[in-house]
């Protein structure tokens, strides 16, 4: 009796559940595969797309694609091969960062940053380590910031300014070297330039917050 109840009553379906099911059945059914117009998008095979062509060589003639991804691919299949071409760049970049960390390079950066943090953003030098951490991991940076504030090493005003710095382009280094590495081959300028621009605007944003807290904000911190 109880078991029956469990099977009958406990299933609550939100109204869009039925729509989702119908759409899914249509999506996988293949009936729109060779349809005309926008409805083509409602087909699994069409969204899956196709792999690129590698080109062909006949005797003494013909052209080949630059890499295994080929040319003219689309959809999910093209995404897969494209993503594979990015693996080496991400692995090499993060490997090198680890080596820099191993060789105390990040500590050197921290040491160089520490004396300029106060004039730069109005936060004390002891935030240096947290700042470096926040460039690598959003979560590490934020929890270290919380720790600084809980142990009263920085006040709420400084915390808010520093949080602003971390919030815009969070985990800058990691995101740049992993996610954005996908786009490195397409840049029209050196790889370092956009990173410098981002860093400059992180500091700029923190100063906007600093200005806001000084000039506009009247409430309690």
């Amino acid at each position: 009796m109880n078991d029956n109840k469990l099977y009958q009553l406990d299933v609550h379906v939100r109204w869009y559940g039925y729509i989702a099911l119908i759409v899914a059945i249509l999506f996988f059914s293949g009936i729109f595969q060779s349809a005309e117009g926008p409805i083509r998008a409602l087909d699994f095979t069409n969204v899956l797309g196709g792999f690129g062509k590698l080109g062909s060589l006949t005797e003494g003639a013909g052209t080949l694609a630059n890499d295994f991804r080929g040319t003219g691919g689309s959809g999910g299949k093209d995404a897969w091969l494209f993503a594979l071409t990015i693996f080496p760049a991400v692995m090499l970049a993060l490997g090198v960062v680890k080596v820099v960390e191993y060789l105390d390079g990040l500590k050197a950066a921290q040491k160089l940053l520490t004396p300029i943090l106060m004039p730069l953003m109005g936060i004390p030098g002891l935030c240096g380590l947290t700042l470096i951490a926040s460039l690598q991991s959003a979560d590490a940076g934020a929890s270290m910031l919380n720790e600084l504030s809980n142990s009263s090493l920085i006040n709420d005003r400084q915390k808010t300014i520093f949080a602003c710095f971390q919030y815009s382009a969070g985990a800058t280094l990691t995101n740049y070297l992993s996610s954005c590495a996908v786009l490195f081959p397409f840049f029209s300028i050196t790889i370092i330039t956009p990173l410098v621009v981002v860093f400059a605007f992180k500091i700029f944003g923190a100063n906007l917050m600093r200005l806001y807290l000084t000039k506009v904000y009247k409430g309690e911190l």
Binding site: G37, A41, G73, A79, M91, G95, D139, F162, S179, T193
Partner: protein, 155 residues
């Protein structure tokens, strides 16, 4: 803990550990994001929405000398950096964005990047007062806008 790693590992271990992180990031985060983005752009292409979005956002994106469709990159970036990058790559692959467009967009993707997600992960974790959230998001948008304007002249 850092000390420990240093006494136990060599420089080669450090590199390999970093590269392993890169592999994990690629497989667990980059591939699913890129797949999502390519599928989304494929749907936009199949439905013909790409042209409509391109026309709608043309006036705004024109300020950064970007085509209208570039707006989809920024919208995706606001939700997730991987998503934004994926959309950009997909649009480049289908010839809708140029090398210069990509270069202008990258600082925008980062500075605007994952504002929604980081609201919890950065602002929430560091216990910033809730009434500062709107201005913090506004600063992200200002940062991204100015950075892309600057990139327009560098790229």
């Amino acid at each position: 803990m850092e000390k420990e790693a240093k006494t136990n590992g060599t420089i080669i271990d450090a590199f390999v550990e970093g590269a392993r992180n890169g592999y994990k990031l690629s497989a667990n985060s980059m591939v699913p994001n890129v797949l999502f983005a390519f599928a989304m752009i494929q749907i936009l292409n199949l439905t013909g929405l790409t042209d409509i979005l391109g026309r709608v956002f043309e006036p705004v994106m024109g300020i950064f000398s970007l085509p209208g469709i570039a707006a989809t990159v920024l919208i995706a970036a606001f939700l997730s950096i991987g998503g934004g990058v994926g959309v950009a790559a997909s649009l480049y692959a289908s010839g809708m964005l140029t090398n210069q467009n990509i270069t202008i967009l990258v600082p925008g993707i980062l500075l605007l990047g994952a504002s929604l997600q980081y609201m919890g992960r950065i602002l929430g974790t560091s216990n910033v007062k809730n009434n500062f959230y709107p201005i913090l998001i506004a600063i992200n948008i200002i940062n991204a806008t100015l950075a892309m304007l600057l990139m327009r002249f560098i790229a």
